[in-house]
Subunit: 382 residues, 4 copies
């Protein structure tokens, strides 16, 4: 199997998510990082490239330079996929430029900083023969696929309730006392119109729609900003309604002091319920009505797992896999689609449609939160 060649924009020293992507793409030995434009700071850029063992000639001073230079290389050498891990406002401009230059794109979420921008990107992806993948990492976990499968198989019956919560505590203090991460994520010009909802609310929302395989059609939101001078929401909640009549509650907050990364989903139908927590990702609680509850466990050979879950495990039960493995699952699927020369969407990987849903969610949250009226639609764009 030939390794797929990827390049990266963003992710210099001090960035969190760039390193995550590099671990994830490397884990299964199917992808090679061949080039990058990691930082606008030339020293940082160069140091990052060196530490990755890259050919110095393929460490570029800007993403524009990268696209031009890589496009000029021989087909068997040049980057096939561009990974975008910059601040949010650059996601769409770089995605479009990369696609136009003939490269597949794998982009950190959110896909865009507005719904309008996301729609524009979707039209470019649709017209191209390129793949677009979105790093909704949590959708790479085996037990999230297992949850989706159990809902789809009807084990829970008709879905009545979905609860999703995503508490974090790292923005409890103000930006001055903080790191680079906090600073751009709370700057509207880089993060887009939402802070917490754009950063983690979209994960929670995407998880709901993924597990239920239903659209959320309307919501009622309450957003808050708890730190003086902070310009974007750092906390909020919403009631949800889905297309098949389930109701739900979504909570996302970055001021839950002391909480690490507590993404959790619970789904209840008339035949049973399931519960999953990202910080214990290898367990899925299943509550069939009238029986003791069960705990399904991730791992090769584990009983009760669907194919989609088993295919996303590397080790037998009891050898914990985690966040990097979840993202690596997205990379493996993306690389497979590259090898098969697919276009548009890589099976198993969230695509531009997920990106649109995320932006529709954020816009509905912002409009609902600033309104006195309860329910606001989450428009569906096809």
């Amino acid at each position: 199997m030939k390794k797929v060649r990827m390049g990266m924009v963003g992710g210099g020293e001090g960035a969190f998510i760039g390193a995550v992507h590099r671990h994830a793409l490397a884990l299964d030995g199917q992808i090679e990082l061949v080039c990058g434009a990691f930082s606008r700071d030339p020293d940082n850029n160069q140091r990052t490239g060196d530490s990755l063992g890259l050919d110095a000639q393929r460490v570029y001073s800007s993403w524009q330079a990268l696209l031009v230079a890589e496009a000029a290389l021989a087909p068997q050498d040049r980057m096939e996929v561009l990974i975008i891990v910059t601040p949010n406002h650059l996601h769409v401009p770089i995605s479009i430029a990369a696609i136009e230059a003939g490269f597949h794109v794998f982009c950190e979420k959110p896909a865009a900083v507005s719904l309008e921008q996301a729609i524009e990107l979707k039209s470019r992806v649709d017209k191209s023969n390129k793949l677009y993948g979105l790093a909704h990492t949590y959708l790479g976990y085996p037990m999230v696929w297992q949850a989706q499968n159990m809902v789809a198989e009807g084990l829970l019956g008709d879905i009545r309730k979905v609860y999703v919560e995503y508490p974090q505590g790292w923005l409890s203090a103000n930006e001055e006392s903080h790191n680079k991460q906090a600073s751009w994520r709370t700057d509207p010009s880089q993060a887009g119109g939402s802070g917490c909802m754009g950063d983690i609310g979209t994960h929670a929302f995407g998880l709901v729609e993924f597990v239920l395989q239903q659209n959320v059609t309307s919501l009622c939101a309450d957003l808050n900003t708890h730190i003086d001078g902070r310009r974007l929401d750092d906390d909020g909640a919403a009631f949800l309604r889905t297309e098949k009549g389930a109701s739900g509650v979504l909570i996302a907050s970055q001021v839950c002091a002391g909480v690490e990364n507590g993404l959790k989903i619970k789904v209840y139908g008339d035949k049973g319920g399931i519960e999953w927590e990202q910080m214990s990702p290898n367990s899925l609680v299943y509550r069939p009505v009238g029986q003791p509850y069960q705990v399904l466990r991730a791992g090769l050979g584990q009983p009760g797992l669907c194919t989609e879950a088993l295919n996303r495990c590397r080790t037998p039960g009891g050898h914990p896999e985690g966040y990097l493995e979840a993202m690596a699952n997205l990379y493996v699927d993306f690389a497979a689609a590259v090898r098969k020369e697919l276009a548009g969407k890589a099976p198993g990987v969230p695509g531009i449609d997920s990106g649109l849903r995320g932006m529709a969610f954020i816009e509905a949250m912002l409009s609902s939160s600033s309104s006195d009226t309860k329910w606001h639609p989450v428009p569906h764009n096809d």
Copy 2:
């Protein structure tokens, strides 16, 4: 120490909460059950009295008969406190009659079936020299007092967020397939205007106001009924605002298939957070900012506990106490107030003011849920 003499209305065979009260009052050996009117069914009434070893003459055919007959007994013999564990709609009529007849009242929640009714009851209690206690059982847990204490001591700093959830699954199926409990709790003429919110939402709400020692001033609610033909809400959620500016989310549902009794509260301020779950009641998670999280544990001699928590423990750490002990803590405090001949409110026991808050909550939930406008006040009655 002389035992306090109590009588009971309701709680015949097949009722859940009557037996709970009887276990709770007996646990500490400070209270004697001397009489009762347990059921309108004479056989059930008699069997219940027999099984409790009561003098057959003090097993009365109705609460009216009980009040008349007990009032006629010599002071050293007659019942001092009437425990009310009937369906909700009888709580106020019996409470008023008992107080007028010269008895203290300890009533299962909710205090009333409307705010108006609760206000009337409060005025009667205030004018009497009798005690009124409300069985908000969860406020008898040591670690709930510990949580209140830590908030009051400022360990969490300014409170920003409160989340309370109370999922249950036992009303997932319809009433026909169900027991006596389900049937009256979903009948508006017996339960009052709300099902789930009256039954368990009030517990969640009361827990928030107890731990924060702040009033919730407004809310935005979404109530649902998931079973065809059910006449009251069985599920819902609300956004909350408190008097000192915290925001929150309250969830209560009785259709979370497979969930037992999952009351949980989480509070976050700028200095830390705390988390408590009723199904693991002896642990309180404390997350001070910038330090590893701690788990405070109930039990005599356990480190880090306040006096209010320690006083509500009977055994050293590691000997689990639970729900019956929590309610017994309310009974111990109520009996102490009886012995001290206090009036109005027994220290340590929720009183009629808690009852009013519960009714104000329910009415705000119902009015908000049926409105298109977001925020509705939770009026405060003094």
Copy 3:
């Protein structure tokens, strides 16, 4: 139902287990404490009696005085059962005297301070028409009965392994810095020949034989004393062999700093395993081979429970019951046997045979630990 009348020897102020027994006997309203000899200190004795609301005439200065005086009362008034919660060395003398005086005995464990003494007691019990019960509290938990039932039903297949551990930390410091409890439990003249093994090792051992319904036939022990000047073991472990060929490990220690009361049993057969922890007593993990693991939960109406477990629950699932309820289950069964005028052993309550097994265990542990040879028999006395 008439209340069973009980009296108590030991359990004055400052004692731990006396109060536990009093809560437990009171919980279900079926038993009345009518007399006691709580302490050799007259003030303590009197204060304890007063606080319990006892008739001052039935608070006796010694257990001998109690037996004489109660035997002289009219049958309908006098104590029926004597509860013994003194230091260990008095258990047998008082038990024998009580039985001879015509009273049933319910005794805190261990039954005796030597196997010889226990055999003597057994012969007295067998010859009398009285009941003898032993407070192996942990055998009152519903899920321990559920575990026994699942083993007996063959759900685990042939039992291969049993692990039992009972770590505590409260004897980590030396006796000087300690309370009354520590002091007599580490004094050979009061506690008997073993400290930790007599105090908690017997619980662990009894739990193994109860759940497996098999005798342990031989063991290999290692006992330790970690504190300078302490005269009895405070820690130890043993390999076990059972009559049907299972092997096991028993751990008991009172120097596991910071651990509360961590009794835990795990049993594995060729068809599955079960796991139970006293500090989370309402859950039983069941691991059927080739299926996801299940968690059976205590509570009225909970799925998958056997009659023996359901009968020992008072509340629906999710309303935690604990240690006091476990002991109360023993009292309920003992009172039922008193009412039925049974002799020897109360169904559902550990009896003198359990006492013998405990003493045989302690003697085998002591003899094995002081020997260079591995395996020592645990003799079975019928």
Copy 4:
């Protein structure tokens, strides 16, 4: 940073641990797999090499061929490190041959199939200028280093007790119904003289000596074989004594039906205790005497962690890392030592001395288990 070039012997399709090593070495992008002899089955060998994207010329038919051919390549191209993931009996012959041929060795555990063999290997390593690393994966976990650090810093005071348990259930059924893994691991000619103790007991033992930084000096063992016809132990336990006077219990079993991979260590001293479980590897419970217990959590920036733990984390708290990351930590350290041209032992990686300790442990277990005498020394070879 230049990638370190590694080759692999063993690890063809159907093998578990070879794939684990490949994920682990790839994760951090610092190592390149350049060649291999994966299977004696030519088809398997070739398919494995293909799937890894290896140059077909560097997929060798045998480890002998690999050593010869790689040694003949130019220094800048040839393999630097040989990874050995064959059945146990080949570990030493291949290790010695590789070292003689001028390659570093990174070997799956156990190092050898006898103590004698391990001593011979050690003498070869010591005489060479090559590195030898042993894949005690669990010693790569951040919180295991944290545990070691807390013991070394004296936070627990003098260590009194250590408990280590390693239950698994996968050998509950017999080999016929099993996979390739079960078959060679229970074959004395491939696995060595011990089954369970060699396979997982050594992990448990190594963890004890690593965390305590003390040698176990003697033990008393009980080994069992539960399946008819199985030729090696599949279960056992031991009492332990350490050089500084702590005592302990080690449990390892592969017949705990339904258990996945439950390695767990608990250490108690006079000032506190710590507890760690491999299946929840990012938490370390710390029980300081007289204070609430704390939970230290792995992750960049997490409070309370030592440098050794922080250096082994890749992501902020709440993004679970697991087993592959633990092994990757060993590979990162091994690669660093290769780059620095160190010999003998790579800092941070278990070396041949750990291998000797493992073999000494197995031999002591076997000799103790077959003896009637209790204590047997675990000889220390320097």
